[in-house]
Symmetry: C2
Subunit: 359 residues, 2 copies
Amino acid sequence: MSSENRGLTERKKQILKAIVDAHIEGGEPVGSKYILQNRQLNCSSATIRNEMAELEDMGYLEQPHASAGRVPSELGYRFYVDSLIERYAMTTNEIAQINALLKAKMGELDQILLAASNLASSMTNYTGIAIKPKINSVSIGKFDTIFLEPDHYILVAVDSENNVKSKHLHTDVPILTQNSVAKLARVLNLYMTGLSAEQITLPIIMKMEADMGSESALVSDAIKVVYDLLNESDSGEMRVSGIDRLLQYPEYSDVSQLQALLGTLEKKEDILNLVSQSENEDISVVIGSESQVKVMNNSALVFKPIVKDGKTLGAIGVIGPRRMDYAKVLATLEGLSGNIENMIHSNKQLNGGESDGGK
Amino acid sequence: MSSENRGLTERKKQILKAIVDAHIEGGEPVGSKYILQNRQLNCSSATIRNEMAELEDMGYLEQPHASAGRVPSELGYRFYVDSLIERYAMTTNEIAQINALLKAKMGELDQILLAASNLASSMTNYTGIAIKPKINSVSIGKFDTIFLEPDHYILVAVDSENNVKSKHLHTDVPILTQNSVAKLARVLNLYMTGLSAEQITLPIIMKMEADMGSESALVSDAIKVVYDLLNESDSGEMRVSGIDRLLQYPEYSDVSQLQALLGTLEKKEDILNLVSQSENEDISVVIGSESQVKVMNNSALVFKPIVKDGKTLGAIGVIGPRRMDYAKVLATLEGLSGNIENMIHSNKQLNGGESDGGK
DNA sequence: TTTAGCACTCACTGCTTTTGAGTGCTAAAA
DNA sequence: TTTTAGCACTCAAAAGCAGTGAGTGCTAAA
């Protein structure tokens, strides 16, 4: 279908762009007359009508009903996004806003992502999303233990990404001492450093238990925790902000549309999948039913992965009606992600993990 | 106003209850005839009309317009909730469901709360909220450090609640060694154990720096982190689930109502305040504009704090239309919170903190 | 004090009419 | 061959309007 794009005359492109722009702005179907008045084109409304009819035949436009104006089709939006857009230049004002607000929230990546999604939402006036993808190729880096009381200790595990995970443990081993837990840490470090979840095999566990002697019970506790931490904790997560903004767009005044979209946002899996399937590091634009997510028929999702050292740490994006101000959205996400990546790169103190109990 | 409640005759109470019940069920204004047919009362519709007129004078009922039926007022709901309700007994089925699902999610309190809010939402069919209040009286329990590379280490802090917080640090101290960071941990433990954020004074910091000798730079890094961790990390948080459920109730088909409510849910502060202001450990029911949150005019919020050893660890609740099935909601929250508190008490392994990097 | 009866109110429904934005087509102009 | 002007046609949406009925308040009788 992209071969057809070449076939568009310059004037057709102009008209298509004009229609998309006008429809993004007003939300209503646009007619030939309106275009004639508001955009400069050296031809009459009749010509425009003819062109519009052809564009409709080619699949770029749709007509809600016979006597209404035209509305861009999915293909129309796609063409617009891919080739017609003039990247929206962010004002210095907006850049300053981004910096100020991101700095205020600096800290863990998670908070940055959340803040960025909030910003994206408020700057574009659509709904923002922050995504932390599932990371599954993590291996263990280092262990430490902290002795608390004769039946409590804390196990701290650092993974290969230098993320810290810790868990408060209770044990029934008779007399737990500072030495026991220190020994546990030594043993765990000795045998498990560099292993991923799959590589933790029974022989290894048995060797560790042997080394721990009478306190071998600690090992199985620890293993369980390590396993959980490697597998579960970093399952993908997604946060949504600015849902209320959706309501200002007439396309969601139809309750069933809104309900469907909100349901998808609640479930999260669909969108998480969509985002994690995208391989490239660039901005992705998913318009309507291009994706398998049926529910998004009337909506569009734009997202940008946050990448550091070739690793995808997360993504930010916005969701809104199909007639989205793509230029602005693209520029905003681009700007935000650039800022985030800069922050991550420039300030090493931030790039590891921070964590706090029970969060 | 509760003195007036006493003045209600038994029949008035019955009629009021009948009206609230009917309105909760159907959502429509209820008329005298409907009550006569569907609830057993030994009187005619005319009598009911008279009583209804009086109840309206007394402020328990409202009339949307002259020829419509009656709708319970805020006061009416309040009276209903306070005195008429027959606590909804949860079916064993539902209890089993709670247990199964909570167990699956067991782990940190945060996840439990979130799972509980999801459950509350799906069981009651309203929107669920999970709240972790601001904790500000935390002091430092213990420190540990983990050496990674000559310019990286991880600082682990355990607070008085045995929550673990950790942060990945980068340092410029010339040659960072395993010993340096171990020494840092010893010094921090020596001087700061038991202190709260306010108690960290300059003399203490200077003593620690003196003890660290040439590596005194590490101290100021650590202090900054500790300070941040104590203050920031446990700021209140609130998660919302099941927003889409709101849409099935006709009171939110008015977009402005919905928008207002969603806005409040987004902002979070209002609700967080509301919840943290409530002192008692029981279920609270906030109906409409009883609270200062203007936006909730048409809605009701029911929440139950989760308490352990006299400390409020969080809260779960639901938000929905004012005509909420209070009996069911109260029973569900009661049941859920009981389960959560049991889990926390019975399984020491869970009650500490778990944390994972970057979450 | 309760009930039956009755006039009254008013949102809602379904119907027709009007309006007007927008089209497609044809024939003239470029 | 392409563009334009003109005109008839379409059809959703708005406006107007009568009829319906659930529900009320009030009065007078039980």
